[in-house]
């Protein structure tokens, strides 16, 4: 299985945001806002994390009708270990509540 060697700041930030969500599923837009990174940075990172088994993804039906299913993400056990082993070294992330208020 894979392990961390030298994660970029963006990777650590995304992992921290996913870790903070606990076992809950996150969506791309919310994740980008919470991690404070552009979606163009986020998605390639999610693809790599998923292909290496750190992330699981599933399609979820939206609560309100007329909207398409959304792709949701959460860390696998390996991903949780990776996130814990590679904490963000800079300023702490905004909390979920703060992110939703902004």
């Amino acid at each position: 299985m894979a392990r961390a060697r030298s994660l970029s700041t963006h990777a650590r930030t995304v992992l921290a945001a996913l870790l903070e969500a606990g076992g809950a599923w996150s969506h791309g837009y919310d994740l980008a806002r919470r991690a404070g990174i552009k979606s163009g940075t986020l998605y390639p990172l999610l693809i790599r994390l998923e292909s290496q088994g750190y992330l699981e993804a599933e399609w979820q039906q939206p609560a309100e009708g007329g909207k398409p299913p959304r792709h949701a993400y959460r860390l696998t056990d390996e991903g949780l270990r990776l996130a814990r082993d590679n904490p963000v070294q800079a300023a702490p992330l905004p909390s979920l509540a703060q992110a939703s208020e902004s």
């Binding site: 963006h10 969506h27 791309g28 163009g40 940075t41 693809i47 790599r48 959304r70």
Partner: protein, 388 residues
Amino acid sequence: MRPRRRLAVLVCDLLAASLPAPNRDWARAARAEVAAIDDDAEALAFALETLWGLGLAGVRCRLLQLAVWVGGCDREDQAMVRLGGLDRARLWPRALGVFSAIGAGAVGLAYLAAAGAPGRYLAINVAALLVGLAALAIVGRLLSTKRARSESVMLWLGLTLFGVAAYGVGLGGATRWLRLGGLAVQPSLVILPMMTVSFARSRTTAGTLAMVLAAAALALQPDPAMSGALCAGLAAALALRPDRLGLIALLGGVAGFDVAVTRAEALPATPFVDDVLTSAFELHPLLGLTVLGATGLLLTPGLLGGLRDGRAQAAYGAFGAVWGSTLAAAAIGPYPTPVIGYGGSAIIGYLLSLAMLPPKVPWPAGADINAAVDEPTPTNLHPRLSAS
């Protein structure tokens, strides 16, 4: 639908079109996020950001898929080229060489245009690039299915060089060319790099005989530059994987080189073909540096492949030595500058020699192919993750 919302949807469609087929679900995911964002401006910004980061990576990956296909890889290999998979050119030596040839060829066209070469020269180089790419696609596939027949092919190629020495077109005491449809083709530039790399990778008695035949033919033509390239390639192959057949071929090559140097007469430099590097620096230092960079680009398949693929280091070494010595000879003497200067033979020869390299470098046994890619993407925004 409001204009910004419509534009955001259009951007998502572009994103889907830019991604390799196995990654298209991610475009669907981005589109669903856009639909979930209430503010139109915010939705459009999200779509554009995603297109800029993920879409560009997707386009690069699709270009790599195309180059891998041109390199003669089968469908199974091509399927590995996707974002999150084997999406780095350096993992595909032939594809890397395709990019190198196109890049150096483009620099060559810029040089020829700046130097005032006739338009016909530029058209011939472009045509040679297309012919070379087609030849690589065909030969690359043939080699993967009919490897056993390559021995007899090697012998025929060696004899062809002999035929050129006997019946080719002469100039200034050298007989190195064939005239095909009004064009002068130099078969040694087309054939020899391919033969040398093939021999470095797989040495047989018939292959050794073919290399000695080639060395003798180059001595007869005489062609000291290609004879030197042959020796450099064989020496690199022998140093990286010493054996008796490699030594015999090298001794034959050195004897041929000695004769070629003794018999060769100094030919006048041909404009746009020889002295390209000096001429480029005289035109503009920046152009000179670009041409110099392009020569380095041509060597990358050998250098990077050799670093990553221990099984075929002799082949990568021979590739680097053949083309490195040819480029060095062109830099210091009146010899053709392959791929960059005017001349289709070297362009086709470069691309054909790529077919003799392994199509891809190996990854650790038992490791998941996705986990084997541990470097950041070209956008340099992603983590370094490695297989343990």
